[in-house]
């Protein structure tokens, strides 16, 4: 560790000033929009925003979808992570790579694939019609189901990664030991795996939840204007109605969510380091 504080400060300042000027300042002004009214500072914009039934719907839908995606990805994630951890070492790395591969690919491409699968003339409808289950194609696109599927595919890898690394840190013999002591698989999961991987679950859950909360592309492409989420609502309010007050309120909601999630993750990280 070098002592000279002036040099240290001089080296950090360009980055800090850059981020402050380009991020904190403009975003701060945007956030302040909602508090400015003709009669001075007020929080009335928040009341008005939540008074609108449409905004309520969008807000709760966003929370609902984000929680659902986090919950379902936890269930699938545990199964997949447990399977990966129990693979022989040679194929474990390769499988981990395959699971994380989608993260490298453009979310636009990833979401677009679901158009092909879920669209009116898409794969699913073709099967349904060919098998005679329905006469005419059903609507899957522009429903909450479509958005849910898209988000799940987008963020599931994050959950699997978190859970795999949590399971790799589990004492190697914990599961066999519990089995020998007579625990069935449900008991092993609830009493051994779950407590030992809780941290990974929280990390994965937070990443998936905030990722889904703040997703734009997936609800835009798979939900359209029928299934608005907070980000697509923000875009619509600005482009259609020039409504910066609503945009400011939504921005605040998203930032508060995202910031608390980050704080939580940081807490966990420092708690782990100090152990």
């Amino acid at each position: 560790m070098f002592e000279n504080r002036a040099i240290g400060l001089a080296l950090v300042l360009p980055a800090a000033i850059f981020a402050a000027a380009l991020f904190l300042l403009p975003v701060g002004i945007l956030l302040s929009e909602a508090f400015q009214t003709e009669s001075g500072w007020s929080v009335s914009a928040y009341g008005e925003f939540f008074a609108s039934p449409r905004n309520q719907t969008v807000f709760f839908r966003t929370l609902k979808l984000a929680s659902l995606v986090a919950g379902v990805s936890a269930v699938i994630g545990y199964a997949a992570a447990f399977a990966i951890v129990n693979l022989p070492a040679s194929s474990r790395g390769r499988m981990f790579g395959l699971v994380t591969l989608p993260l490298m690919i453009s979310p636009v491409a990833r979401t677009y694939a679901w158009l092909v699968i879920l669209g009116r003339t898409g794969f699913v409808n073709k099967i349904l019609v060919d098998l005679g289950i329905t006469e005419t194609p059903i609507r899957i696109l522009f429903t909450e189901t479509a958005v849910f599927i898209g988000l799940l595919q987008l963020f599931l890898p994050l959950m699997i990664i978190s859970l795999v690394s949590a399971m790799e840190n589990m004492p190697r013999d914990a599961v066999p030991a519990a089995r020998i002591l007579g625990a069935n698989w449900l008991q092993v999961f609830v009493r051994v795996i779950l407590p030992l991987t809780r941290e990974g679950l929280v990390i994965g859950g937070t990443l998936v939840f905030t990722g889904s909360m703040t997703a734009y592309i997936t609800p835009a492409i798979l939900g359209g204007s029928k299934v608005l989420m907070l980000e697509t609502l923000l875009y619509q309010r600005v482009t259609v109605a020039n409504d910066f007050v609503s945009a400011s309120v939504i921005a605040m909601i998203l930032i508060v969510m995202s910031f608390s999630a980050n704080l939580l993750l940081k807490r966990l990280a420092t708690a782990r380091k100090s152990r």
Binding site: V12, A16, A109, A113, V116, F123, Q153, F259
Partner: protein, 259 residues
């Protein structure tokens, strides 16, 4: 239950869900028909060729590549000294500085894009292009600082001290000792920044104008009007590009060690 079998069933289903859609995209892109469909109607490469003939794709690809390369370089120019200072010096207010520098990760991109448009581009007359560049640089900055810091933390400070005692000044020790040993980390940061910038949508959403769009934005705009498989072909190409870059990086520098 046979645990071997159930392992493979679980992994098979998960992979089908995660990777299957890409295979379908590739198949749809190989269609000879004019509408997006799976299974494809006949086989041809015409949509892959069409992609290169669409003028706006060529332009927006150029914009995206430019942003990804130069935005990342600019982020490294700002981020490497910051990472060095934060791992080597007792910087006053280090926690605050860290929070400021990492804020672009915390604030959702769409908000950043809107804020820049509203309070930088419009009132100050900054062009959309420079604004996009600044936004992408700021967006990559946290990744650059984080990845480079991690590899600097792994480098013992006493190596630099040894260099100082052997006659280097501070900058010389940085150039001769630190830089060569964090090359992998810097390269990893570059690749991560490149991929992040290239795939980024929300930041660029509000920051696009006539003739100046990033590729993902252009793809979204195109698919709102056209229902042909060219976006499928383009998606497939981009997926191959990203995976290729990451695979090569893993192969040559062990990318996953740094990320």
């Amino acid at each position: 239950m046979n645990s071997r079998l159930s392992t493979w069933i679980i992994l098979g289903l998960t992979l089908t869900f995660l990777i299957g859609p890409f295979l379908i995209i590739i198949a749809a892109a190989l269609s000879a028909g004019n509408n997006l469909a799976f299974p494809p109607q006949g086989l041809s490469l015409k949509w892959f060729i069409k992609v290169f003939e669409v003028e706006s794709f060529r332009a927006s690809f150029g914009v995206s590549i430019f942003l990804a390369i130069f935005g990342t370089l600019a982020a490294l120019v700002l981020g490497v000294p910051a990472a060095y200072a934060m791992t080597r010096y007792r910087v006053p207010g280090a926690e605050t500085v860290k929070l400021i520098v990492s804020s672009p990760i915390i604030v959702p991109g769409i908000i950043v894009g809107l804020a820049l448009l509203q309070y930088l581009v419009i009132p100050l007359g900054v062009g959309i292009g420079p604004a996009l560049f600044l936004a992408h640089t700021a967006l990559i900055l946290p990744y650059a600082v984080r990845v480079v810091s991690a590899s600097m933390e792994n480098l013992r400070v006493d190596m630099e001290e040894a260099a100082l005692l052997l006659g280097c000044n501070r900058f010389g020790a940085f150039r001769r000792i630190v830089l060569p040993n964090i090359r992998g980390g810097v390269l990893a940061a570059f690749i991560l920044g490149f991929v992040t910038s290239f795939n980024q949508v929300p930041v660029s959403l509000f920051l696009s104008g006539p003739g100046l769009r990033t590729l993902p934005i252009d793809m979204i705009a195109y698919m709102e009007i056209n229902y042909d498989p060219s976006v499928a072909a383009l998606s497939a190409l981009l997926a191959f590009m990203s995976v290729g870059i990451v695979f090569a990086a893993e192969r040559f520098i062990g990318l996953s060690r740094y990320v």
